[in-house]
Amino acid sequence: MEVAVCLKRVPDTASKIRVGEDGKTIDTSDVQYIVSPYDEFAIEEAIAIKERQGDTQVTVVTLGDTAAQKELRLALAMGADSGILIKSDSALDANQVARNLAAALEAKSCDLILFGRQSADDGSGQVGPMVARILGMPCVTDVVSVELLDGAVRVEREVEGAREVIESSLPVTLTAQKGLNTPRYASLKGIMQAKKKKIEEVEAQPFDARFPVKSLSPPPARPEGKIVGEGVDAVAELVRLLREEAKVL
């Protein structure tokens, strides 16, 4: 079967994020990049399916600048078979990303397309469902288990207080929630083998931006704390403030 995983290169979650000079994007100097953590669950699931099923091709796709090759290469080192880099040097909105991903995947006739539930940077959580819509596939979000049946798939989602079991026909798009699996480390042999795997490069197409980011601002600085007094004498005033001003009691 044909499986695709869409992944995103995002700033390391440990990086300190500053807003860039344009006020719309982040300052990328000194930022380390990683594969978005939810996408790692998607990659792991695709490789695990390939190992269980046999006769499966796993393609990893990303949209980004040339540096995003590294994140594709990591997925290839984990065990994916080939990669597609949709090259774009500028920040695109979710519509542009989804349309480009769909365009790159259309010809592949995928049985299964996997995403992380949301990216670790923008976190809009909509690219997966949008790609499914464009390609005319059903989409199940936030899955925590995937079982392939004959021409169908049974997945589980965690919903408030319960576990939902859903069966879908193939092809289908799934987005991965934490708990789906434990992503493997890229083994050193895998890294050496990945050097021989192919990454196809295509230019991003100029689809319309439907909801571009207008501005980006850091959260407001936390106001200074207030010291209401010292020792036992301050307790009454503190309780009053917690009750009347902060309204937490």
Partner: protein, 388 residues
């Protein structure tokens, strides 16, 4: 706990290829997830984290710079980065991997028969077999040429007699690469666990490399098949070639330890408030951090070029001596300074600096002491060997 931040002041990452970066990334993640959480407890209880062995094999770090036989076939810079990342976790874990790869797999790979390679290397690469390397003796450390252990040919066998000391992995090893004199010439042998006449004892009561097994090996009329001789070995240069491999890895590894100590000291000094401000705002603290930062950067540049020389077959043992000597010395100094900067907290297992400080005392001493490497460099610049 805040995530680890390594030092890369001179943009050395840009000198790395994509696969070298991926190797570093994978091993760093592994160390953060699998080594760091339990290592202080292992150190305190003096236990080796054996559960790591199959995982290290699966990751591919055992004999990672060898070709074929289940090995990853990495270049020497990638291999060095592995050592650096592992020793950021603990010198004991790095020692395990160094011994397995550079001191057991390498001599079988370099001096063994095809049959020996087929028999041992794939299982050593996965960690199914554990190896140890017996060169040092109770009375012969810096002067291995004086070894007493000997082997006498007897029909289709050799009979080994002697004792080895300070042997990493000894008690847990399935395979020992043992050096013994045959008619006065040092040769290498593979001795398998369970061979009659071969026994081990655990060396306890050490304050360093506590998360690593250190042992004595004893050979009493130990009869091994003549086929276990590593045929291409001959003279002291054979074990010294192995030591050059291992010392190369240590030169990188020591920087990992130094970066762990530096990272800890830097974060601590920024968050520790005394006299109403972070201790990092005091000049004495800044001077210490600046010194550490500079020494780490110098060490990084040294091992990077050392690795490129090794990949170009231009490496000489003297190059390795300089890097091993310098980086171990600096890592120990950095750990001591970091320990000092953490005040009383520095002597607890809650912080890594005390553990790294204690470990580096061994790492500075083993695989050629600091002073012996000094004399090797002295000979390099004067042409006169002070130790002969």
């Amino acid at each position: 706990m805040e995530p680890y931040e390594s030092v890369d002041f001179f943009g050395i990452e840009e000198l790395l290829s994509e696969d070298e970066r991926l190797v570093q990334h994978s091993v760093r993640e592994f160390v953060s997830d699998k080594v760091i959480p339990d290592i202080a407890e292992h150190f305190e209880k003096a236990t080796f984290p054996r559960d790591l062995i199959p995982q290290l094999g699966e990751l591919g770090v055992l004999g990672a710079n060898l070709e074929g036989y289940g090995c990853a076939g990495l270049n020497n810079v990638a291999y060095g980065l592995i050592m650096q990342e592992l020793e950021r976790g603990d010198s004991g874990v790095r020692s395990f991997v160094s011994v397995q790869g550079a001191l057991v797999m390498y001599p079988i790979y370099a001096f063994g028969t095809e049959e020996q390679k087929q028999k041992f290397l794939p299982k050593l690469a996965t960690g199914e077999f554990i190896g140890c390397f017996g060169l040092t003796e109770p009375d012969h450390g810096s002067n291995p040429n004086g070894m007493i252990t000997n082997a006498v040919k007897d029909g289709d066998s050799y009979i080994l007699n002697g004792n080895k000391m300070w042997i990493t992995n000894g008690c847990i090893a399935d395979v020992a690469v043992v050096w013994a004199k045959v008619d006065g010439v040092i040769r290498g042998f593979v001795v398998e666990k369970g061979t009659p006449g071969f026994s081990t004892t655990l060396q306890e009561h050490k304050f360093s490399l506590r998360a690593s097994v250190t042992s004595e090996l004893h050979f009493e009329d130990c009869r091994i098949p003549a086929a276990n001789l590593l045929p291409e070995t001959g003279g002291l240069k054979s074990p010294l070639k192995c030591l050059t491999q291992a010392r190369y890895g240590i030169a990188w590894g020591a920087l990992g330890s130094a970066m762990a100590s530096f990272d800890c000291a830097r974060k601590y000094s920024v968050s520790r408030i005394q006299f109403g401000k972070p201790i990092a705002s005091f000049q004495l603290v800044q001077a210490k951090l600046a010194e550490m930062f500079s020494e780490i950067t110098k060490g990084q540049l040294m091992v990077h070029q050392l690795g490129r020389l090794k990949d170009q077959n231009k490496l000489r043992p003297q190059h390795v001596s300089m890097a091993k000597r310098n980086n171990c010395y600096q890592a120990l100094e950095i750990a001591r300074t970091a320990r000092d900067m953490l005040g009383a907290n520095g002597v607890t297992y809650e912080y890594c600096v005390g553990r790294h400080m204690l470990n580096m005392e061994s790492v500075k001493t083993y695989e050629g002491t600091h002073d012996i490497h000094t004399l090797i460099l002295g000979q390099e610049v004067t042409g006169i060997a002070a130790y002969e």
